[in-house]
């Protein structure tokens, strides 16, 4: 997480990515905050060819 004023890193989101058994690496592919900004929904997965995500 970065500060939008200074662009300095201010924190980290503790997401453990699974090991990949194919050539595409697992990465964070979705991020959404709740309306009250108290929760963050993070999804990890793979970006595949033809814009598919898994």
């Amino acid at each position: 997480m970065f500060d939008s004023e200074t662009f300095n890193q201010c924190s980290e989101i503790p997401v453990k990515l699974l090991d990949s058994d194919t050539r595409e690496p697992n990465q964070v592919i979705g991020l959404q905050k709740s309306k009250d900004e108290n929760y963050l929904a993070v999804i990890s997965g793979k970006n595949l060819v033809m814009d598919e995500q898994k």
Binding site: S4, E5, F7, I29, G30, Q32, K33, S34, K35, D36, N38, Y39, A41, I43, G45, M50, D51, E52, Q53, K54
Partner: protein, 284 residues
């Protein structure tokens, strides 16, 4: 979770009563929209598409009260109402469009903004807005038949209370000319007097992915790519100092600080910065 396959990666926390903690997330996939309760891991289908979308949806936009939705893949788009039993509206048939790039919702005017790359078989930049309840109440904001594919589109609405303005920011990359473009469209005031305010073009290889976003506090528009981060100042502050990754100090001037160059309020300023050794600012 077997149901959780080929799900679009635009999703939303389900609305709850004020003060209550959210418990579910709404997702869209090819044949349905569903809510996943992440405490109990129970999946509830909210809407089923008949026929389903042609491929995995990349775009999913919900209105503020989460009654109306737009879901789209590159090839087809649907608009629907969770509370109505009626059929969903096929947006690609309604507008005669294809290659859908992005959809966003504006809670103030209760409208969806819809950007696509193809209309009536012609490749270009087509921006449409339509009513959240009834997509047949629509209007074209931009119809630019430039015959170039566009990609990595990010649309956002920026509100700046200091300047009393509301602007639509559209960032996208363009094939062949290899640029990352930011288009700023005025959304405040009389509809007849609204115009494109700025265009900014910077070098961006088409084959490399890029992501752009507007930072709501600093009003900077940031684009992130393999080569690093590009910052464009959008707010009312004419200039501000930044420190580069190498420690060097840089002064960035906001696009708006050059608005005085406009001869007519309907002019827009085109910042042609593809070649860093030969930057051109043109009033068009």
């Amino acid at each position: 979770m077997p149901e959780f396959t080929k799900v679009g990666m635009q999703y939303y926390f389900k609305n709850t009563a004020e003060g209550e903690k959210p418990t579910s997330i709404i997702f869209a996939k090819q044949d349905q929209i569903f809510a996943l309760n992440y405490d109990t891991e129970v999946i509830t289908t909210i809407e089923t598409f008949e026929p389903p979308l042609k491929c995995q949806p990349e775009i999913f936009a919900l209105c503020e009260n989460q009654q109306y939705f737009c879901v789209a893949s590159k090839q087809d788009g649907l608009h629907g109402d969770f509370k109505s039993e009626g059929d969903d509206v096929d947006l690609d048939k309604l507008f005669g469009i294809g290659l859908i790039c992005d959809v966003i919702y504006d809670g103030e005017t209760k409208e969806f903004y819809f950007l696509c790359n193809k209309k009536d078989g012609k490749i270009g930049f087509y921006l449409i807005k339509f009513n959240e309840e009834d997509p047949s109440k629509f209007s074209y904001l931009t119809m630019w038949n430039h015959k170039l594919d566009i990609g990595d589109v990010n649309m956002q609405i920026m509100r700046d209370n200091e300047r009393d303005c509301k602007e639509l920011l559209i960032g996208y990359k363009t094939i062949y000319i290899n640029t990352y473009n930011l288009v700023v469209i005025d959304l405040a005031g009389d509809e007849e007097k609204r115009a494109t305010l700025f265009r900014h073009e910077a070098f961006q290889l088409w084959e490399s992915s890029v992501f752009g976003m507007n930072l709501s506090i600093s009003k900077d528009f940031v684009s992130l790519s393999k080569t690093g981060m590009n910052v464009l100042a959008m707010g009312s502050i004419p200039k501000k100092e930044l420190k580069g990754s190498d420690g060097s100090k840089k002064m960035i001037h906001s696009l708006d600080s050059l608005s005085y160059l406009k001869v007519d309020p309907l002019n827009f300023i085109n910042f042609k910065c593809q070649d860093y050794g030969n930057r051109v600012i043109s009033i068009e």
